[in-house]
C-alpha cells in the first residue's frame, strides 16, 4: 500500500512447466468415481466472484470458456477431460464408457453409455438424450454454440438448411442410437479423427428430450452432473446445490465436496482481487471465478508471500496475437517487418511483466498436442523489437512510411490503452506510419470480422476448442471460411495452406498430426506472416484461505470448480 515498488525481482512468479500435455485415456480411466483429493471433506459453500453472469446455461449455446467453468458442474457430454493434480489431462469417457470407437478412417464413431446415469429429477439419461443434445444444435436458437459436429454430420457449413433440428419430430439419419445396447453411432460425411475431442465440448452436452423447453432451457437447464441450479438472479447471483441423483460411481472426472456453489456477478477483476486480498467474512470461501488478478495487482499479490500462497496460475490455452489484414497488407515483407518491429517486451511489461506470460513466438500454443518451440522472427532474443531489421525489410519492399491502421477493443481491458502507446512508438521507430483506431468493445468483433474493414493490424485472440492443431489452424487460416463474421480475420487464402489443413485434419495418429501442424505453423509464419503472435498469457487467480483443492484448469483457464473443497 505504501508508495513505490522496490527493485526488479527477476524471475516471474508462475510455474515453469506447461500443464496441458493431453493424452487419451483408457476405459479404466473413464470409470468412476474420480480419485479422492487428499484432506478434502464434504460440506460448505464455495463462492465464485466474477464480473458478469454466464452468458448461457443451455449446453448447445455454450462455447466460451468462462461458461464452461460452471457448465462442468451440471453438463455432461460423451467425453470429457480428467485432470490430474499435476495438471496433466486425459481425454476419458464421461457419459460414455470410453473415448469411443472410430471406424471408417474417422468417419464413423460409436459410443456406449455408462449405467446408472440419471437426470436431476431421477429419470434415466438415455442415448436419445445424447442424440437430442446434438440435434438441438441445429435449431434456430442455438446459434452461439460450436458447429464442428453439425457440419461434419451433414457435410456443409450451412447445416441448418439441411436439417431443421429435432423439434419438427425428425431425426438426423446420420446418428443411429440403440436404446437397448446404449450405443450411439455418428456417421460423418467427412473424416474427423479427433471427434472424441470435439464431443467433449459442452456444446454437445446431453439434454433430456422430455424436459426441453427450447429457448427457455437456457435459463433453467436440467442437470446431469453433481450440482443443479437452485436459484439464479440474472447478472447478480447464481446458486448451485447438490444433485441427489448424480452417482459418483458413473463419473470419473468430477469430485463434489462442497454442498453448494454461489456465484456473485458484477465484480470486476480489480475489485474481486481486492475482495480476496481483504477476504473479510465469507470471502474466505471465495475464488475468483474466471477473471484473474489484473496486471495492476500482480505486484501486490505476488510480492506478499501470504497472498501468493493463495494463488493458482497457468498459461491460457489460447494465443494472443495481432492479425494482419492480408487483403490490405499484401506484401509479405511488410508483414514480416511488422513481426520484427512489434514490441513484445514493452507490451508484456504493461501486462505485468514476466509473470503475465510468455512471449508467443508461434501460432500453436504450448498446450497443443505436438507443440515445438520455434521462433521464426527471433522474438525470444529481441522481444523489444528489431526496428533496424524491420526498416530494412520495408525498404526492400519499397514501403517505407507505410500507413498501418491498428485497432483494438476499447472499454474492455484498460491495458490496451497503454499497449497502443508502445506499439505506436515501435512502429514509428521502424519506419511505419501508425494510425490508431480503437473500436468500442461492443462492436469490436463485428467490425474486425467484416471482410471489407479498414484495419491493417487487429488485436485478436484465439483459444482452441480442444488441444489439437486443427482447432487453431482451420478457423484462423482456412481460406474457405472467409466471410463476414469469420475468425480468419487475416483473410489469408492461400491454396497450399488450405490444402495442408485438409490433409492434416484427417491424420489419425495424434503424434503425426501434431508434427504436421507444427510444420505448417512454421511455414505460414516464415512465408506468409499473417499474424504477429504476442503472448501466451499467464493468469493468476486468488482464492480465500478456507478454500482447498485449488487447481488451474488447463482447458478453461480457471479454477476446476468440481475439485474445490472447503477447508475445516
Amino acid at each position: 500500500s505504501s508508495g513505490g515498488g522496490g527493485g526488479n525481482s527477476g524471475k516471474h512468479a508462475g510455474t515453469d512447466k506447461y500443464t496441458g500435455s493431453v493424452t487419451v485415456g483408457t476405459k479404466e480411466d473413464s470409470t468412476g468415481p474420480a480419485p479422492e483429493i487428499e484432506g478434502a471433506k464434504k460440506g460448505g459453500n464455495i463462492i465464485g466472484i466474477g464480473p458478469s453472469d454466464f452468458s448461457h446455461l443451455d449446453p448447445q449455446r455454450i462455447y466460451y470458456a468462462w461458461n464452461s467453468t460452471v457448465a462442468n458442474l451440471y453438463i455432461r457430454a460423451l467425453t470429457g477431460y480428467k485432470i490430474a493434480s499435476d495438471g496433466s489431462m486425459k481425454l476419458v469417457g464421461d457419459l460414455a464408457t470410453d473415448t469411443g470407437t472410430m471406424a471408417d478412417e474417422g468417419k464413423t464413431w460409436t459410443f456406449t453409455l455408462k449405467d446408472g446415469l440419471k437426470w436431476d429429477d431421477g429419470s434415466e439419461l438415455t442415448v436419445e438424450d445424447v442424440r437430442h443434445g446434438i440435434e438441438r444444435a441445429f435449431a434456430t436458437f442455438t446459434t452461439e454454440g460450436a458447429m464442428y459436429v453439425q457440419s461434419a454430420l451433414v457435410g456443409s457449413s450451412d447445416f441448418r438448411s439441411k436439417y431443421k433440428g429435432p423439434f419438427s419430430n425428425k431425426h438426423l439419419d446420420s446418428i443411429v442410437t440403440d436404446k437397448a445396447k446404449k450405443t450411439i453411432t455418428l456417421k460423418l460425411k467427412v473424416a474427423r479423427p479427433d471427434l472424441n475431442f470435439t464431443l467433449a465440448m459442452h456444446s454437445y452436452g446431453a439434454v433430456p428430450v422430455g424436459h426441453d423447453t427450447k429457448e427457455k432451457y437456457d435459463k433453467d437447464p436440467v442437470s446431469a452432473g453433481p450440482y443443479k441450479i437452485a436459484q439464479h438472479a440474472i447478472d447478480k447471483s447464481m446458486k448451485l446445490v447438490r444433485n441427489p441423483h448424480w452417482d459418483p460411481k458413473t463419473d470419473a472426472i468430477r469430485n463434489a465436496y462442497p454442498d453448494s456453489f454461489t456465484f456473485q456477478f458484477g465484480t470486476e477483476g480489480l475489485a474481486a482481487a481486492d475482495r480476496l486480498i481483504a477476504q473479510s467474512g465469507d470471502d474466505q470461501y471465495a475464488v475468483m471465478a474466471y477473471s484473474g488478478v489484473p496486471a495492476e495487482r500482480l505486484q501486490k499479490v505476488l510480492t506478499d508471500p501470504e497472498l501468493k500462497k493463495r494463488t493458482i496460475n497457468g498459461l491460457l490455452s489460447g494465443l494472443y496475437y495481432y492479425a494482419i489484414n492480408c487483403k490490405r497488407i499484401t506484401d509479405p515483407k511488410v508483414r514480416q517487418a511488422l513481426n520484427y518491429a512489434w514490441p513484445l517486451e514493452q507490451i508484456r511489461r504493461i501486462y505485468g511483466g514476466q509473470s503475465a506470460g510468455d512471449y508467443a513466438t508461434s501460432i500453436i500454443s504450448p498446450d497443443i498436442l505436438g507443440y515445438d518451440h520455434q521462433d521464426v522472427y527471433g522474438k525470444a532474443k529481441k522481444p523489444q523489437g528489431d526496428p533496424e531489421k524491420a526498416k530494412a525489410l520495408l525498404k526492400e519492399a519499397g514501403k517505407v512510411g507505410q500507413k498501418i491502421v491498428y485497432t483494438y477493443p476499447k472499454g474492455g481491458n484498460d491495458a490496451y490503452e497503454k499497449t497502443k502507446v508502445v506499439i505506436v512508438n515501435a512502429l514509428k521507430a521502424a519506419g511505419f506510419d501508425p494510425v490508431v483506431k480503437a473500436v468500442d468493445q461492443g462492436s469490436y468483433y463485428d467490425q474486425v470480422q467484416q471482410i471489407d474493414n479498414n484495419f491493417d493490424v487487429m488485436w485478436f485472440g484465439w483459444s482452441p476448442d480442444w488441444p489439437t492443431g486443427y482447432t487453431v489452424m482451420q478457423p484462423l487460416f482456412d481460406g474457405a471460411t472467409i466471410a463476414n463474421g469469420s475468425n480468419n480475420v487475416s483473410q489469408l487464402n492461400v491454396s497450399w495452406v488450405n490444402d495442408a489443413i485438409k490433409k492434416n485434419a484427417v491424420i489419425t495418429d495424434p503424434k503425426a498430426a501434431g508434427a504436421a501442424w507444427e510444420e505448417l505453423d512454421k511455414k505460414i509464419m516464415t512465408e506468409l506472416a499473417p499474424i504477429i503472435p504476442e503472448t501466451f498469457q499467464r493468469r493468476f487467480y486468488l482464492y480465500g484461505s478456507k478454500v482447498g483443492g485449488a487447481l488451474f484448469d488447463p482447458l478453461f483457464s480457471g479454477f476446476i470448480m468440481y475439485k474445490l473443497h472447503v477447508k475445516a
Partner: protein, 342 residues
C-alpha cells in the same frame, strides 16, 4: 415607508448640496463613479478567502496555459515512455522501481506505472486539457443558455413554449447514459474508418455534447429571470421610447443578467471539471495518452494499492482546484449579491 429603506445606498448618495457648493471637485467626482460592477469588485477585494482562492485558481490556469513552457524548462514531456525506454525505472511488475512512485530529481512527481511517463508534465498537461475543456464548455453553455433563455423569456408565447419543452426533454434525458451509450458511436461516424480519431475532434465533440445538455438549465434559469425583469419598469420605459426587442434584450436586460450568468458560470466550471473527469473515469471522454485529470484518476484508481503517490497528485490537485473555485464562486456570489446571505 417601511420596505424600501436600502441603507447601503445611503452613504453613496449625491446630495444636491455638495454639488452646488463645490462645482470644481464635482467635475472630478462626476467622472469616477461607482458602477455596480466596481462596487462588487470592492466588496470582493475585502473577502480574504475569495482573494486567496482567486490566486489558487489563477495559479492553476497559469500552470495550464504555461504547461508547454514549463515542460520545456523542466526538460520532459508527458508522452515519452521514460520507464519503457529505460528499464531500470520500472520494476518487473511495471511499477516505478524507485520509492514513492519513482519520485526523484529527474522526475519530480515520479513516473506512472506501466508506461513510465513523467507524472509532473502529465499533470501539467492534464490541468491544461481539463481546464480548456471545462472553460470552453462553460463559455459555450453560458452563451447558448443566455441567448436562448433570453430570447424565449422575452418573446414568450410559442417560442417560449417550444424552448420550454426542449429543455424538459433535455433535462429528463439521462446524460451519463447518453455519454457512455451514444457519444463514442457518434464519434466513429464523424471519422473516416481508417483514420485515427484526432484528439481535437474528441475534445470538440465532448464540449459540444456537454454544451448540448448544459445550456438547458441555464436557459431555464435565465428565462425565469427575464420574465421577472421584463416586468420591471425600466424595460417599459425603453419600450415607450420605441426600443426594438433586440435592443431591449441586449442593452437593457442583458447587463442586468450578468450577475446570475456569472454565478452560473462559477458554478458550472468546477462542475464541468468534475463531469469531464467523471466521464474519463467511466472510460468515455478523453483517454490515454491524452493527459487529463480524469484519465489520471482512472489510471490511479487501479494502482493506488501499490502506488498511492500516483493517486495523490491528480486527486489532490483536482480537489484543491475544485474547492478553490467553489470558494471563489461563493465570494463572487457574495460580492455580486450581498443580500443572499452566506
Amino acid at each position: 415607508m417601511t420596505p424600501p429603506t436600502p441603507s447601503q445606498a445611503t452613504p453613496l448618495e449625491v446630495t444636491d448640496e455638495d454639488s452646488a457648493a463645490s462645482a470644481k471637485p464635482a467635475t472630478l467626482k462626476g467622472t469616477e463613479s461607482r458602477s455596480p460592477g466596481r462596487l462588487a469588485w470592492t466588496r470582493f477585494k475585502r473577502d480574504r478567502t475569495g482573494v486567496i482562492s482567486a490566486f489558487v485558481v489563477i495559479f492553476f490556469f497559469v500552470a495550464g496555459i504555461c504547461a508547454p513552457l514549463i515542460a520545456k524548462v523542466y526538460g520532459k514531456d508527458p508522452y515519452t515512455t521514460y520507464g519503457q525506454n529505460d528499464p531500470s525505472l520500472l520494476n518487473d511488475f511495471s511499477y516505478p522501481a524507485g520509492p514513492n512512485g519513482g519520485m526523484s530529481g529527474d522526475f519530480w512527481f515520479g513516473i506512472d506505472p506501466q508506461l513510465g511517463r513523467d507524472v509532473f508534465t502529465f499533470l501539467l498537461y492534464a490541468i491544461r486539457n481539463s481546464l480548456l475543456i471545462s472553460a470552453a464548455t462553460t463559455l459555450l453553455v453560458a452563451f447558448f443558455g443566455v441567448v436562448i433563455g433570453l430570447t424565449a423569456g422575452y418573446l414568450g408565447g410559442k417560442t417560449d413554449y417550444f424552448v420550454g419543452r426542449i429543455i424538459d426533454i433535455l433535462l429528463a434525458f439521462p446524460q451519463t447514459l447518453f455519454f457512455i451509450g451514444f457519444w463514442p458511436v457518434m464519434l466513429t461516424i464523424l471519422v473516416s474508418p481508417d483514420e485515427a480519431t484526432p484528439t481535437w475532434l474528441i475534445v470538440v465533440s465532448l464540449i459540444t455534447v456537454m454544451t448540448a445538455f448544459g445550456w438547458a438549465p441555464i436557459a431555464r434559469l435565465l428565462r425565469g429571470e427575464v420574465l421577472a425583469l421584463r416586468e420591471r419598469e425600466f424595460v417599459e420605459a425603453a419600450k415607450v421610447t420605441g426600443a426594438s426587442p433586440a435592443r431591449i434584450i441586449f442593452k437593457e436586460l442583458l447587463p442586468n443578467l450578468w450577475t446570475p450568468i456569472l454565478i452560473q458560470a462559477t458554478l458550472a466550471l468546477p462542475a464541468y471539471v468534475t463531469i469531464e473527469a467523471g466521464l474519463a473515469f467511466l472510460g468515455v471522454g478523453l483517454s490515454d495518452p491524452t493527459p487529463d485529470w480524469g484519465v489520471m484518476v482512472q489510471n490511479a484508481s487501479k494502482f493506488y494499492q501499490g502506488d498511492i503517490t500516483y493517486m495523490l497528485f491528480p486527486g489532490v490537485t483536482m480537489v484543491i482546484f475544485v474547492v478553490a473555485f467553489n470558494l471563489l464562486g461563493d465570494s463572487v456570489r457574495d460580492a455580486l449579491d450581498p443580500k443572499a446571505g452566506r
